[in-house]
């Protein structure tokens, strides 16, 4: 049995009296696409924030590539190759898309010389390739802040790929995206997984998307791990249906 890329064991997090995550465990094996679903307020984003080190956890442990990361800071964890995108997109609004991409290179082993250096041409080429990959090539000289919400989501995804992560946590990648573009996005997520070797952990509310995309899905409700299994397991799980539709 190999160590999974990401292992979350018994993580709890409370904000004052509100228990957002209670004894959550999950694992993400290398090279897979794993889903995370749950009704609004079930603690999905809190779990993401805990994993990437945005806030300290109350108990439990999180390990990445076999190393404990539960005490590490956000930038340190990002440099290990564990990256997240935001539910409300976050791009650098007053910079062009190309500049957004160029600053998203990996920042491992960055000394004073690298900090003051110019970029190599390969960086710009790679940035253009990835912008084309997400379909934003024609917008590359526009200010990122002038893009639509959906386009910013795509840009944020491209920026994440530019960083060459090993594991990418995507917080609702299809929210706000035109339904006709969603199929294209699913295809891109799968290609990123297959050709670039990026493992994905995806929060998603669009059931059609997540059922097509993920091989294994975890379902949270009221801060607890309700169920997990293959997409068809979960579709037939009465507890999951109750959680989403409200139990009688």
């Amino acid at each position: 049995m190999t160590t999974p890329l990401l292992q979350v064991t018994g993580v709890s997090k409370a904000f004052g009296g509100v228990v957002a995550n209670n004894d959550i465990s999950l694992e993400v094996p290398e090279g897979r696409i794993i889903g995370l679903i749950g009704p609004n307020g079930s603690g999905k984003t809190t779990l993401f924030n805990s994993i990437v080190g945005f806030h300290p956890i109350d108990s439990g442990s999180i390990s990445f590539c076999g190393d404990d990361i539960s005490k590490k800071q956000v930038p340190e964890i990002a440099r290990l190759g564990l990256l997240r995108t935001f539910q409300q997109t976050r791009v650098y609004g007053l910079m062009t898309c190309m500049d957004n991409m160029r600053i998203s290179v990996p920042h491992v082993n960055e000394g004073l010389r690298e900090m003051l250096a110019r970029h190599r041409d390969e960086v710009a080429e790679r940035a253009e390739e990835l912008l084309e990959f997400v379909g934003l090539y024609s917008k590359r000289h526009l200010m990122a802040g002038d893009l639509s919400f959906g386009q910013q989501k795509l840009l944020e995804f491209a920026m994440a790929l530019m960083n060459e992560p090993r594991l990418l946590l995507l917080d609702e990648p299809t929210a706000g995206i035109n339904p006709t573009l969603i199929n294209g996005l699913i295809d891109r997520l799968q290609r990123a997984n297959e050709t670039l070797g990026v493992t994905l952990l995806v929060i998603e509310h669009n059931m059609r998307v997540i059922m097509n995309l993920a091989e294994h899905i975890y379902c949270l409700a009221h801060g607890e791990m309700l169920a997990d299994g293959t997409p068809s397991d979960l579709q037939n799980d009465q507890r999951v249906i109750d959680a989403y539709l409200g139990a009688h």
């Binding site: 930038p75 600053i103 920042h107 491992v108 084309e132 024609s138 000289h141």
Partner: protein, 346 residues
Amino acid sequence: MSRKKLYLLLLVGLMLLAPVLMPAFKTQLAMLMLMITFALTWDIMGGQMGYNSFGNIVFFGTGMYVTAVIQRDLFFTAEEYESLAGSLNIINGTDYLTGLFLGLGVSVVVCVILAAILGAGILKLRGHYFAICTLGLGIAAAEIAAGIDYIGAGSGLVPPTFPHEDLGDRGYFFYYYFLTLAAATFTVLSWLYKGQFGLAINAIRDDEDKAEAMGIHTTRYKTLAWCISAFFLALAGGALGNMVGFIDPTEVAFAGATFGVWMVLMAILGGKGTIWGPVIGATVFHIMQELFWTYLFGWQRVALGILVISIVVFFPEGIMGFIRDRWPELLGHKVDLKSSKKGSTP
């Protein structure tokens, strides 16, 4: 591109000839170069990185004091110097230059280290908290300097008199010094802004949380940005003490109410976050200020206040920001509708 280079060359030629063409304005021109350096160095943090610092004057004043103290202590004891102070020709050209440049070198080292230490302490603060903290730094520095007898305390310090018999006219000397400094600041910064450093501090300005989430060494970049400001401000301060000829802790060295505020205003007037903005802003501001002092004497501060208010109300994005909004193509913003690298159009 070649036309741009031609204009730049013309500008450089003009600046080199300026004091010869207008010998009566040498000192004013030197001050203009200092103002440009002020605005450019403030804009590193304030414009490009989005951290409004009111404490950059600390490095200017520290550089001024350190340089003067080295110039003094290299050849005299403090008592000796005090009895000589004010008298002319106490030092020859070689000794003067040795003292000045050694002093500048040491002040650069001191100020960069100071920026790194202060930065590590307060660059974790964001937004208004950072601004207020730096404001405190400037005030504290002046008070501390006014309390140290070794550097003249409240009555100030007099740098060695410029040996004009050996080195010629001090006006020319300092003009060309400050011209070189402003040009070097401009060149180094425009080079840095095009690389990783510029992109990283822009990213911090736009969304620091995102920058952290992407693994950018935000603290390192922020500290580095302040160290670069400190580097050039130390060189500016060290020489200005000598040009003015008298270092007062609150009026010259840590002059937060004048230089400290002006550097912010000039960068905003010209357009913060651009490389030419601070240059244009400093030039316009300095000329206006000189005109006010000449033609509106007695009302000069009122006029300056009206200018400041007009800037904020009518040009919130500054002169360069105004041009960028009206004629974006002038600044090289281009729209290219190609949808792929191969060149197919939508």
